[in-house]
Symmetry: C2
C-alpha cells in the first residue's frame, strides 16, 4: 500500500452512496480535512452534512472546486462531461480530478474534450461496489472493504495523480487494478451491465403479465434475490447504457443467442442438453464463489 | 387452520430439502409417528437418519409405502410417474398420496395413468419455498414458515385427502392456496421457471466469454445474488423444464421479445424509453416487496 498524504480540500460533486462512502472511509483513515459537497438537491446535501460526510454544501460546481486539491465527480455518467466543462476554469492548477463511473471510455473522451490541459490530471476510476440503494443516507465507510477499484489512466495521464487516487482508494480498504478503458468496458458489460438489463427486463415482462398480481404473489425468495438489482437507480443506469452501449449491445446479443438455444432445447425436450447446460453453469458459479471466499 | 390428526406412518420417497423439511416441521408439531425414507443413495439416507428426519431407510419404494397412511413423493418430476407406477400395488387402500413438484399438469397426468383408482387420493402440491441447496443435510423445520403452498386437486379428487394434505402444510407454518394445475403452471413459469433459465443462461454465457476469468474476478455482489439460483439442482431443473415446457417456452418467448426491444433502445440510444422502462421496473418491484413485507 502506498503512503498517501491527506486531502486538504475535497470537492465532492454528487453526494451519493459511492462518493459519500469514499469520503466517510477517508475521514475514518484521517485522510481528509474539509469536504465541500455539491448537488442538485439541498435535502440530500443536508442529509450529507448531518451524517458528517460534508462540511460545506453548494449547488454550484464552480464554487465547489475552488481551492480543492482533489475533485471527485460522482454523478450519473451523462452529467460527467457537462460538470467537467463547467468547472474547468475554476480548477486549481494542480488539482487531481477523478470519477467513479461504471463506463470508462466515454468518460475519458468527455474529460479530454472538457478539461483541456487539466485532463492530464484526470484519473478515471470505477469502484466495483455499491448496492441498489442511493443517496447520502445510504453511504457507509466500510463499503469498499475488500472490494476492487479499477483505474483506467491513459499513457498521457500524470503518474503522480494516478498514484494519489490509487492510494486514496487503498486507504479505504479497496484493492486497485489498472487496465485500459476499452477492456474495462467489455468486462463490465458482461458482469454488471448485462445482468442489470436482464433483471430490469424480467420485472418489466412480469409487470405486463395478465395474471400480474398473482405472479408477484407467488414469487419466492429466489425471485427477490434475482431482481434486487432492478431496484437500482434508473437515471444512473440509463446513463450507463448510453455510455457503454456498444459493448452492452454485444453482450446482450451473445446472451440472447445463448438463451434462444436453451429455449429451443426446452421446446424440443432435449433433456441431455438442458441438464449439461445447468450442470456446467452450476459448476462454473461454484468455482467462482469459491474464489471469492478464498 | 384445520385440526389435523397425526400421521401414523409416513413414506417419504426422495429425502431432500423439501421432503426432509416438511417431515422435520411435522415432527416439531407432533404430527408424525414413524417415517420411512426411500432414496437412491444410502449416504443421504444415513444423513437423514442421523438428523432425525427418518426412522427407517430403504432403497425400495414398494417396501417404503407398505402400511403408510401418507405417501410423500419428493423426487425430480421425471421420476414421479415411474415411482407411482412402481408403488401402486403396495399402497394401503386408504393411503393419501401427495407430491411437491414445481409443475402440476404433468404430475396429474402421470398420477392418473400410474395410480388407477388410487388417483382419487392423490393430492398434487407445490410448496413455494426452497433454496439452491439440496439433500437431507440442507433440511430444516422452519423452511415453510410464512410460505405459500399451492394444491391443484381436480374435481374428482377426494376432499378428505385434500383437507388432510392442506392441514399438514398449515401445521408447518405454510398458507395453502388452491388453483387449477394449468393456472399454477402458467404462474410458476413466469415467476420461478423463467428466472432460473435466465440465471443458468447468464452463467453459461459468461463462462464462454473470452476474458472469462477476469469477468468473474470483477463480478460484484449484485452478480452473486443474481446468479444464486444458477446453483440449483440441475437434474431437478431439467425435469421442471421438460414437465412445464409449453408454459415455459411461452414465458421465454415473451421475455426475449421484451429484451430485444430494450436491446434496440440501447442500440438506438433512446434515453427516455430506457429510463421509463427502468423506472417502471423499479416501482413495480418495490410495490411487490412492500406487499411481501406487509
Amino acid at each position: 500500500m502506498s503512503t498517501v498524504g491527506p486531502v486538504k480540500r475535497l470537492a465532492l460533486i454528487g453526494v451519493g452512496l459511492i462518493g459519500g462512502s469514499w469520503v466517510l472511509g477517508l475521514r475514518r483513515a484521517g485522510l481528509v480535512s474539509t469536504v465541500v459537497g455539491c448537488g442538485r438537491s439541498m435535502a440530500n446535501l443536508d442529509t450529507a452534512r448531518e451524517r458528517g460526510i460534508i462540511d460545506d454544501a453548494t449547488t454550484d460546481p464552480r464554487e465547489a472546486v475552488r481551492g480543492a486539491d482533489l475533485v471527485v465527480v460522482a454523478v450519473p455518467l451523462g452529467a460527467v462531461g457537462p460538470v467537467l466543462a463547467t468547472v474547468r476554469d475554476d480548477l486549481a492548477p494542480d488539482a487531481v480530478i477523478t470519477d467513479v463511473g461504471s463506463a470508462k471510455a466515454s468518460v475519458l473522451a468527455d474529460a479530454a474534450e472538457a478539461l483541456g490541459e487539466h485532463s492530464a490530471r484526470f484519473v478515471p476510476g470505477h469502484p466495483i461496489a455499491g448496492n441498489e440503494k442511493s443517496g447520502a443516507a445510504a453511504a457507509f465507510p466500510e463499503l469498499f472493504d475488500n472490494r476492487r477499484v479499477i483505474l483506467t489512466p491513459e499513457d498521457s495521464t500524470d503518474t503522480v495523480a494516478v498514484e494519489r487516487v490509487a492510494g486514496l482508494w487503498e486507504a479505504v480498504g479497496a484493492s486497485v487494478a489498472r487496465m485500459s478503458a476499452a477492456h474495462h468496458d467489455d468486462v463490465l458489460a458482461a458482469t454488471s451491465h448485462l445482468p442489470h438489463m436482464l433483471a430490469y427486463s424480467l420485472v418489466d415482462t412480469l409487470s405486463r403479465w395478465s395474471d400480474r398480481d398473482e405472479v408477484f404473489a407467488y414469487a419466492a425468495g429466489g425471485f427477490r434475490d434475482f431482481t434486487r438489482i432492478a431496484s437500482s437507480d434508473p437515471e444512473m443506469w440509463r446513463d450507463i447504457c448510453l455510455a457503454n452501449r456498444d459493448a452492452l449491445v454485444v453482450a446482450m446479443d451473445r446472451y440472447m443467442a445463448d438463451l434462444s438455444e436453451l429455449r429451443e432445447q426446452v421446446r424440443a425436450g432435449d433433456a441431455a442438453a438442458i441438464e449439461n447446460l445447468f450442470r456446467h453453469a452450476r459448476e462454473t458459479r461454484e468455482r467462482f464463489m469459491a474464489t471469492l471466499e478464498s
